[in-house]
């Protein structure tokens, strides 16, 4: 089958897509995703149809369509190639891979071929840092790309192969699990006792039936389990708040919007432990009295959609989801899958809820907190994939078993996603409390000059502090460990991460929307050697304003790449500054400023072209 060229969307079919979701405005993201998949864009006319069907205004639909990176208001190619633009991919050969794609397809990044067959674009971290450079080709993921591989891929596509045929010539015969592991390696380097070792099926859920909701929450609280997404809120308390809020309905949401650059642990859990995840959610549902669940899967992990859908179907068929779970009267709980569409901010729990409601992924005003008023104003527990998996194991093995592992205040094990300059990138399940040095030894990353713990919103540390420990009290992390050798340019890394935050800010509040742009520009100045000594103070000052005034966690942490490198690598900044000569700004370049006029007037400058007119 040859890739279909872009068509003018048939509005009848757009309407049918709406019907498939009962034209429910809360399913807007699903509707627009399907329209995008079908027609490769969301036209003005489509917006009108969707607005009519869902009884929303056009601007409300357009607000959603224009918010998510995977939705487009311009026609995209039938095959859309999204190259992961993360710094790890860049260091792993992305420039050469990009060039190969550009040459083979005859289009540049950001362009769509004239026949509508291909689009080529960059996208931030798609969670494949352990096998970079990686790309999404429609819903297919390809990893460890090289220019040679790219030439093969393009030849195959031009020869009429579907993107899925690139994975296997008998793709259609494979199970969803087989498809997933053929596309993406798990790279499990160290299996710990809790998650990646042996996990007996639904053992926790069985035990949960014999416990009262109170006892479940007590047990989770006693285990010391804290949220594994990065913020580290005590999970038991979260559950208790939701359980105690009077309500007719309550909701359990799994945050599988693993977007922090350098993090890919949930990808592995979703592939290898999907039943454990749903088991954990089901236990949470019993604990807080919830009947509805949502797994919010980041759009980049769309390749896992079928796998998860199958797991849900299977569990429903086996009475592990739906009404009277395991035969217990009154224990009703079901889960739906919600796909994201390219927005890092949706990892923030309020934004994630907005997104589940079919809105742009904007964080919600707090208070009220989701545990009292979340999804559709219902009490809602939002936990990370890993957290739910832990919960299921805790109920099976007991709070004490979990509590004993790790360190005081940081109990149990943690999955670390290790990538960058090391021999063994991949997943390490280890008890909390390990030092960075120890982890580097395990991963074969002893040459590290810098380690980014917790992704760009975390901390970048230097060699002299590799004794620091991975705990909530020392180096807290949602799991990302990115290793950089001494060959890497720290300022390049910092500038990349700032451009990431600029791209991912939702734009709701001033400091994050605007301030991050200025931070990025300032770092660029340092890289170009155009910064003044005063610019160091400017970076600190602007960062602190952004942190102190931002509305959500994104803005409160976005200056971290700058602040932690200013603290731990001060010399790279001070080496790049010089006082301006005669107090004339080095950033103003008269030659480029008059280039256009020179060209238009077909003459040179009497003043600034030194050899001229003398």
């Amino acid at each position: 089958m040859t890739p279909q060229t872009t068509t003018t969307p048939d509005q009848g079919e757009v309407a049918r897509i709406c019907d498939a979701f009962q034209s429910d405005p809360h399913r807007m993201l699903d509707i627009l995703r399907d329209v995008q998949d079908r027609f490769r864009w969301i036209s003005r006319e489509t917006i009108r149809t969707v607005a009519e069907k869902t009884a929303l205004s056009e601007i409300a639909v357009e607000g959603v369509a224009s918010f998510y990176a995977f939705l487009s208001q311009e026609p995209k190619g039938a095959v859309t190639i999204r190259l992961c633009d993360d710094i790890v991919d860049r260091f792993a050969g992305l420039p050469e891979v990009t060039e190969a794609f550009e040459n083979e397809l005859g289009i540049k990044i950001g362009e769509t071929s004239a026949d509508g067959a291909y689009s080529l674009e960059y996208t931030p971290c798609i969670g494949m840092c352990d096998q970079a450079p990686a790309a999404m080709i429609n819903d297919i993921v390809l990893t460890a790309l090289t220019p040679d591989k790219v030439r093969e891929i393009c030849e195959d596509l031009k020869g009429g192969k579907r993107p899925q045929d690139l994975v296997s010539h008998r793709f259609d015969d494979l199970t969803p699990y087989e498809r997933a592991i053929r596309m993406v390696d798990n790279n499990i380097r160290h299996a710990g006792a809790v998650l990646l070792g042996t996990t007996p099926a639904d053992a926790g859920l069985k035990k949960a039936l014999d416990l009262t909701p109170h006892q479940i929450i007590d047990s989770i609280e006693a285990s010391g389990l804290r949220g594994c997404g990065g913020a580290g809120f005590t999970s038991g308390r979260k559950w208790r708040f939701a359980a105690e809020t009077p309500a007719e309905r309550r909701v359990i949401i799994c945050n599988a919007d693993e977007g922090e650059p350098g993090t890919f642990k949930d990808r592995v859990l979703l592939t290898e432990r999907p039943h454990l995840l749903i088991e954990g959610m089901t236990i949470a549902a019993r604990a807080v009295g919830a009947t509805e669940g949502i797994v919010y899967l980041r759009g980049e992990y769309v390749y896992l959609r079928e796998l998860l859908q199958d797991v849900l179907d299977d569990r429903r068929a086996r009475g592990l989801l739906g009404e009277r779970i395991m035969g217990m009267a009154g224990f009703d709980f079901d889960v739906r899958l919600q796909l994201g569409a390219g927005a890092y901010i949706c990892g923030e729990e309020g934004a994630l809820i907005s997104s589940c409601e079919g809105l742009p992924g904007e964080p919600k005003t707090r208070p009220p907190f989701p545990v009292t008023r979340g999804y559709l104003d219902l009490p809602t527990v939002v936990n990370n994939v890993e957290t739910f998996c832990h919960a299921a194991r805790i109920i099976d093995r007991g709070a004490e078993w979990f509590f004993e592992m790790g360190k005081k205040g940081s109990h149990g094990t943690k999955l670390f996603s290790v990538s960058g300059d090391c021999l063994n990138p991949g997943i390490y399940e280890l008890p909390y409390g390990l030092s960075i040095r120890k982890l580097l030894e395990l991963a074969g990353g002893e040459d590290a000059a810098a380690v980014l713990v917790g992704g760009p919103s975390g901390t970048m540390i230097a060699r002299d502090t590799f004794h620091r420990e991975l705990t909530f009290d020392d180096l807290a992390t949602g799991g990302a460990i990115v290793i950089f050798s001494s060959n890497r340019n720290i300022l390049e890394i910092v500038e990349y991460y700032m451009s990431f935050f600029v791209h991912e800010s939702c734009g709701y509040c001033t400091p994050c929307r605007v301030g991050n742009v200025f931070l990025q520009k300032a770092v660029a100045k340092f890289r170009q050697g155009l910064a003044n000594p005063a610019d160091i103070e400017y970076l600190k000052d602007l960062s602190s304003t952004i942190i102190e005034t931002s509305r959500c966690g994104l803005g409160m942490t976005s200056p971290n790449p700058i602040l932690s490198t200013l603290e731990n690598f001060p010399l790279i900044y001070s080496a790049m500054v010089k006082p301006s000569e005669n107090r004339i700004r080095a950033t103003f370049d008269i030659q480029s400023a008059i280039a256009d006029a020179r060209h238009l007037a077909k003459r040179r400058s009497h003043i600034f072209d030194k050899d001229f007119g003398e």
Binding site: R585, F588, I590, R603, F608
Partner: protein
Amino acid sequence: MTELPKARIATASLAGCFGCHMAMLDIDERLIELMTLVEFDRSPLTDIKTFTRRCDIGIIEGGCCNEENVHVLQDFRKNCDVLIGIGQCAIMGGLPAMRNAIMHSDEPLRECLEEAFINGRYIRNTTHNIPNDPALPLLLDEVYACAEVVEMDYNIPGCAPTGDVIFETLSKLLAGKFRGFERETIRFD
């Protein structure tokens, strides 16, 4: 009482309307008072075209829209201890900077000039040419605020600032007593 040496002031109007210079004259009879403290060097008010010597204060009206503006501003920065921007054009580009936001094509400068000299609704230009005398300074790609080109020490806002604000600010600066503007006197229009 020993007389202090007079402060030397230079002024220039770059891409402005000369309104801020006119506003300086609105200091009215207090000019006499001011003149006991200062003397003017290079300035359109004295018609001195180049610096006769280093100045204490340079006052800049207007932003930079062409190469000559840049040249003059850089010259002022080199020859003045303290540089003061006066009026919105110097501070943020002002009216001339309107062109920065109305250019949508790949060749914004051409678009701008063609609109101004050829295509504009009220243009009667029988030659259909964009003026291009060799004596005309080259235009910049966009209009720049002074602080984008050189470091500025102070800015007096307004379009134009009132004579009162100019007088107050200069007097306080000369006396080393400037601590910021009175809120009630700040205006950007």
